[in-house]
Subunit: 201 residues, 2 copies
Amino acid sequence: MTSKPAFRRSEPDVRRQSLIEACGRVLAREGASGASVRMIALEAGVSPGLVSHYFAGVDALVAATYAQVGARVSAALDTAVEAAGSDPRARLEAFVTASFMPPIADPELLATWIAFWSLVTARADIARQHDAQYADFRARLAAMLGECGVPAARQRIAAIGLAALVDGLWLELCLSPGCFTPTEASAIALAQLGAVISTNR
Amino acid sequence: MTSKPAFRRSEPDVRRQSLIEACGRVLAREGASGASVRMIALEAGVSPGLVSHYFAGVDALVAATYAQVGARVSAALDTAVEAAGSDPRARLEAFVTASFMPPIADPELLATWIAFWSLVTARADIARQHDAQYADFRARLAAMLGECGVPAARQRIAAIGLAALVDGLWLELCLSPGCFTPTEASAIALAQLGAVISTNR
DNA sequence: TTGCTTGTTGGACGATTGTATAACAAATGC
DNA sequence: GCATTTGTTATACAATCGTCCAACAAGCAA
């Protein structure tokens, strides 16, 4: 008599990925305080010991989740930009607009972001990861602004301002969705974008 | 022989206030995960049981801390606005500039904000408190924009955008202080403020 | 089939959590 | 000076936390 397997083995990378995704779901559902090792393992359908086997602790898992979510956001923005064609202005506008639509404006992303932010103050390595990831975001904005005619001397400040506006709108859109609509957020961001670009004419 | 008192009694309001302040300090030092009942009681110099005696739980204490910190921020902005004189434009510019200077741009405030945000998703009453407190902030901005000549029809959108920009700059300024300076943040926000106001001429 | 590698399990362990409660003592009125 | 009130302490309690590790078994090689 052959009994059915009690569990399935996975490639290390696959298992890591499934734990990361489970962490994101738990963060979205239970909040940062509910993201314990046992809860994440239960969500992933594995034994609690596996989490410790793949990650140094919950903090490392949250950091990995943040990195993976950031990569997913980056990919979604890439898709939106490419779909906008070749005009630099249209590409930048697509970049901004996509920030307020699914899958970027998503409560699950917000929960991951907040859980990660709560680690930045206390842990230096987490702070470095945040700096690097956010610097990439701004550098990308600065490059697109350059293609729209913003001179190099103004790109840094313009990118910081645009990134802050998009982030602030995105944050409030996720925290209290009833306050304003994604369309209004896009209109606000595009208006400032227009002002920044037209300054140099 | 008279022994010295083992503890001092306080008025309920005074004790509540000291617990709130201790909560803010613990949040800034240990992060959201370290803000336990015992740690806060130790910081306040009282027994652990006293926290439960004054607040329903840590969540309620964090919410009270958020409300008190919000009131302190509001008062600091009031002071800055009044010091700017009577010109509406100067008052609004003072409002924006003060957002990036002490005591508002403060890591302790950031920790309290993040701890509060982490509760918004899971708890409806916390979400309502956030909506109300943020609506007040935007309403204040809208009123000041009105005094600067922004027509009523545009005040709401302009206030949302300005609030998002200030919040985004403030957040990034606290998360990674080395990225840009408070002066640069003020310059960015004032530039958008100028664009919003001059649109109506 | 047999044996080996290693992903995985499941529970033990001490530390820490939030909550509840009885005993205590400081402040106040009489 | 004494009794009352109540703010405060200290502890007990169950639940949950993160960490750890020996035993197990799935999958692969021989």
